[in-house]
Assembly symmetry: C2
Homo-oligomer: 479 residues x 2
Amino acid sequence: MRRSVIKDVLSTAKFGDKVLVKGWVKAFRQNRFIQLNDGSTITSLQAVVDFENTDEALIKRITTGAAVGLTGILEESQGKGQKFDLIVELIEILGDADPEEVSKTILQPKKHSLELLREQAHLRFRTNLFGAVFRVRHATSFAIHKYFNDNGYYHIATPIITGSDAEGAGEMFRVSTLDAQNPPLTKDGKIDWSEDFFGKETNLTVSGQLEAELAAMALGKVYTFGPTFRAENSNTARHLAEFWMVEPEVAFNDLTDNMDLAEDFLSYICKYVLENCADDIQFLNDREIEEDKAKPVAERNEMNLIERLNFVINNDFERLTYTQAIELLQNSAPYKKKKFKYPVEWGTDLQSEHERFLVEKHFKKPVIISDYPASFKAFYMRLNEDGKTVAAMDILFPGIGEIIGGSQREERLDVLLEKCKAFHIPADELWWYIDTRRFGTAPHAGFGLGFERMVMFTTGMANIRDVIPFPRTPKKAEF
Amino acid sequence: MRRSVIKDVLSTAKFGDKVLVKGWVKAFRQNRFIQLNDGSTITSLQAVVDFENTDEALIKRITTGAAVGLTGILEESQGKGQKFDLIVELIEILGDADPEEVSKTILQPKKHSLELLREQAHLRFRTNLFGAVFRVRHATSFAIHKYFNDNGYYHIATPIITGSDAEGAGEMFRVSTLDAQNPPLTKDGKIDWSEDFFGKETNLTVSGQLEAELAAMALGKVYTFGPTFRAENSNTARHLAEFWMVEPEVAFNDLTDNMDLAEDFLSYICKYVLENCADDIQFLNDREIEEDKAKPVAERNEMNLIERLNFVINNDFERLTYTQAIELLQNSAPYKKKKFKYPVEWGTDLQSEHERFLVEKHFKKPVIISDYPASFKAFYMRLNEDGKTVAAMDILFPGIGEIIGGSQREERLDVLLEKCKAFHIPADELWWYIDTRRFGTAPHAGFGLGFERMVMFTTGMANIRDVIPFPRTPKKAEF
């Protein structure tokens, strides 16, 4: 008999159907009721065992965590909140789970801390919470591919190993096959990188943007979706050393087009997830409400997860310039009461406390801040007419902070070369990037979305380590 | 006026519509006819300039490679093979392309070698050929995500940086932030990896399979789709140091299920690409026929690209065991005539010449070879009842060779531990992998598809460097 997936059984089977399901035992009560989960959905199927007529040795092997195959007939459930009971005719034990051993792991059915779950990341997929998180992560990911595909974008695989460290976007990881203990040396005693695998020093990419621009200047609309890396010693709930980034890049778009795209895109993702992961989102929503009850009122979420997702779908993002943001902040109560720790003045970057005030207190919705001072934004951002700001934009989400950073790119060859000089970017190493400004340059724009930050938003998880299966952070590369 | 994308114009616009299109000049003939391409489709839009009433200086700037915006009215074309002419009312030069400079690049409209195109990979997106290749690559990628999503699989991001080098699947790239020149040393003069970013020696992943298994043993059906790495000094048309791999893993599947999945999956991709990239596939098909004409008859493709794609869709793959393959080869004409260079005997791996004979000469269709000797297959493959073969499978494609390698996994704890010992795999380092066999183990199976090899098949390109935007190979990490 062919195995049926529980998600399909719950949605399409009829009373009286005979099915074979396989999965893991979540719970076994009264030697009679098995809660069976196969990962396809958060909902477990209740199976009813005729324990009087079942071999006792077999019954003993039905324990939490064991893998079993159950054949039986679907009947209308007598229990509350479930449609079916599976009346079991045949039990097959696929894999045992020794209760003594299970009790030492997070498979033990009780509440475990998120920290402990992280240490057993190989098993946490089996919990209701992480099953839901990773199903929603998948849906978030698929929504992104689908949005771009349906809107005529082409996915571009930008290189992971890069020979260019010219962008200066952050600390990088070196990639090498040289003997670390006894590397080849040049005559003057330096490491001879020409002997390395790629014939030069190479690093892990911090962004695929520059290469995506090359593709956009030919294919028109492209996006990247791949891993990027930061070798920064940041042990926060919002940073990973290895994370996935989504970077659309569009020829002929200006900054306003870029904002419109980002807003439409983020709304689409929220809508897709709500529509396609209703059960998991409901579970995560209820869990958050439950968790909040244990917190001081001031730390609780003002809106619950479902409300926040709907909020993004139903509200236009607030758009203002950096200059307007500075003015607004300087007229704010916390500024006047000297509650901000960091200065608020034109020319210095906004700090998290300022962004949170704007998003969470003042506007109470997602905010797009644009046209930042050129001095603290990347060299490739387009210089505005005023000669001191650039066509940059940051999108700030409640509870997450910056979720998107983007800009219109500097398409004018002469201005770009000036900027390289001012920012100490070696233009000769970036000859291929500069070239696109020499052969049919055109206005273009794009942005980067930190994928895991988006998954924090779609799942409500507060720590970025809990939305990627095997997080990489300083001193942690387990599994 | 809002810009229209040429693909949309060609498919949905009506005669008399006024549109604004932006793109790059492919050709400009008789000071009158512009072929404009914006990357959305291989088809350029023909625009007709009223050159008598257009400023001469402006006309001069309409050169191959320049970016322009054209506003005008769509009329029925007088030309052959195209529906529309755009009667231009307004020309905007977005970016010039100096013909003198263009003539030094591959933008020069003439035939360039694929080698030269690779050296200018930042510009080759603009050619008809690479526009087609990368649009088809995107469609191949999206087809994969869509297939798995629609069939209830969850995408799992497996780690790129790995602290485990236990799998032994190939040479690895080391990832480090230690000072290469003066690394910290332990008391006995060895590199002190505990001082490195992750507190231990780390490498780039060669496969996400082991981690995908962890997820499959909870979520049921999962897949990975991400970059993988091999630090092997292979300068062939089929090898990259950095390539993308697709690895589905399914709980409760056996080897036959695995074959069924692989066959259905590959057929789906071919069908999707044919249906969604008709223009690009036709172009690639015709190009291949044209290229073949210059080759000796023996080197030409027996089927053209479209025929090969249809062949995969319409034919069941031939399935035979390794043992049957050996017998068949030993009875073959080339074996009897001593035409094979490598020996054919039970216990030694099949070589490319043997695989090609089976696929291209004998069966003339895709072939699945299963149940290889345990001795030369990976430790995690399930040992068959005979005690000497494993439940492995390789899928061989005409012209590509091995496109998929997979197996049912060894789910029995005791057998797996024996295999680790025999293969010198340090089981203690893989504690998290072994653990899945201790807590509700179950039969499961999966495979790996080298994504770029699949794109070679869907585009007909013969060199793997021509199906990834910026190939990484020994001594090459440009762009």
